[in-house]
């Protein structure tokens, strides 16, 4: 396991070992046991130039099962990580575009398979580039490994539709844009409208757009600022059981990371079916408008 980033910047978080700075990464590139993983929205962005030695994981073509709407299974994951030259005890530093939106998603999926040492590069690809740090188009060559087949654990950090129905009445965080939350749109502004048949949000969900957790330079806000957003603003209390969702579970992975690793909540689940499932499901309650709304009396357990 690679050493930790001890800079005071990350020190105040609940689990500072989950974050590394660009400076730390630059100093540790090439370290034994450290593998840098890039994960972006655009499937070709890595090829235009990546951190030297980084490997690529694409959320769509690598992590999703091509047939079922689900993630790859333990054998598929072992094949992927084996091909990338990752061992079970590798330290993974994950980074990507759009404030680590897709990097956090990949990190969350890696966690489903119990890969222990996963960290995000604070500030992501944009900060690395803004600091004029090196990028290369050279293909990364790593010796393939024999990564063990470990089945996914969907029970602790992943929520399904049925779990959300049972959870109604406990804290839900909707991390989509205000327009999606209010039911004006089914996808983020600037994104194509697709998939969901109904618009709105899950009753009682608080709207905290995911990007609020990021500062202007793309790094995460300080712990105090994050507490103000999620606790003072959205009413969460440490110890709460929380489910976060968005459109397909990618933006809410980012919020899952913030609540779990930066604020130290121990029971946070990501509902990856998210709005594309809820908004098309028959007979589930939906609230439109800016207010969280109430759980329908018939569903109060």
């Amino acid at each position: 396991m690679a050493e930790q980033d001890d800079s005071t910047r990350v020190g105040a978080y609940a689990h500072p070992e989950r974050l590394v700075s660009t400076t730390w990464l630059a100093d540790h590139l090439g370290d034994e046991g450290l593998v840098v993983v890039e994960s972006d929205e655009d499937v070709l962005l890595y090829e235009t130039g990546h951190i030297p030695g980084a490997v690529k994981v694409d959320w769509h073509t690598d992590l999703n099962d091509p047939v079922n709407r689900d993630y790859i299974d333990g054998a598929g994951f072992a094949e992927l990580f084996g091909r990338l030259g990752i061992t079970r005890d590798s330290t993974l530093v994950v980074y990507g575009d759009k404030n680590n939106w897709w990097a956090a998603y990949a990190l969350w999926v890696f966690t489903l398979f119990g890969h222990a040492d996963v960290r995000l590069l604070d500030g992501g690809r944009a900060k690395w580039i803004a600091e004029d740090r090196p990028l290369t188009r050279d293909a990364t060559e790593r010796t393939a490994t024999d990564y063990p087949v470990v089945e996914r654990d969907d029970s602790t950090i992943r929520a399904f539709r049925e779990d959300v129905l049972e959870h109604l009445g406990s804290p839900l965080i909707d991390v989509r844009s205000p327009l999606e939350y209010a039911g004006e749109r089914t996808t983020a502004p600037e994104y194509p409208e697709e998939s969901a048949l109904r618009a709105g949000h899950i009753p009682t969900a608080q709207n905290v757009p995911w990007a609020k957790a990021a500062a202007e330079n793309g790094t995460f806000r300080s712990r105090t600022e994050l507490e103000a957003i999620y606790q003072d603003g959205a009413g969460l209390t440490p110890g709460d059981s929380v489910i976060a969702y968005c459109r397909i579970g990618e933006r809410s992975s980012h919020t899952w990371f913030v609540l779990t690793h930066l604020l130290g909540y121990s029971d946070v689940r990501n509902y990856d079916g998210s709005w594309t499932e809820w908004g098309s499901s028959v007979r589930v309650p939906i609230v439109k408008g800016e207010q969280p709304g109430q759980v329908p009396a018939t569903l109060v357990g």
Binding site: E41, D42, V43, L44, L45, E47, T48, H60, T61, P66, D97, E190, Y191, P192
Partner: protein, 140 residues
């Protein structure tokens, strides 16, 4: 007769699926710059909302010959590659040839597995808008 678009398709299908992504990167690097006149009037270009990134296209017909211009950010290389394929493939065709491009052309490049159908939808949106602009230009 074969058109430049057919040749580009053959070029993609001739290489392994993983190599196709790198070929798309070459197209992305090679998107022709916009003529200077668009710099002064960006409203002449049409936004393609089917793409997740800000992409703009403009198709014109001059003396019966089609010209396609596009603008896409370097941070969105896939979309930029799609725009470049269409710009290179359609530029110089006659109006009839360009309008005869099958709507499913993006799905025939062998990129579905490497890029994902969701992302290819952006390219279909671009092609549909280019053809509509060409029809409007020819009716005017």
């Amino acid at each position: 007769m074969t058109t430049p678009l057919d040749e580009i398709r053959e070029e993609f299908l001739a290489v392994e699926p993983r190599e196709r992504l790198l070929l798309l990167l070459e197209y992305s690097d090679d998107l022709p710059p916009l003529p200077a006149r668009f710099g002064d009037s960006p409203e002449l270009l049409e936004r393609v909302p089917e793409c997740q990134s800000p992409v703009f296209v403009k198709a014109e017909v001059e003396d019966g010959v089609v010209h396609v211009h596009a603008k896409a950010p370097a941070e969105a290389p896939t979309t930029r590659g799609f725009a470049s394929v269409l710009a290179h493939g359609l530029d110089g065709l006659t109006l009839e040839q360009a309008l005869a491009t099958p709507d499913d052309f993006p799905d025939t490049l062998g990129l579905t597995a490497a890029v994902s159908p969701l992302r290819l939808r952006g390219m279909s949106g671009m092609l549909a808008r280019i053809k509509r602009q060409l029809r409007e230009a020819s009716a005017a």
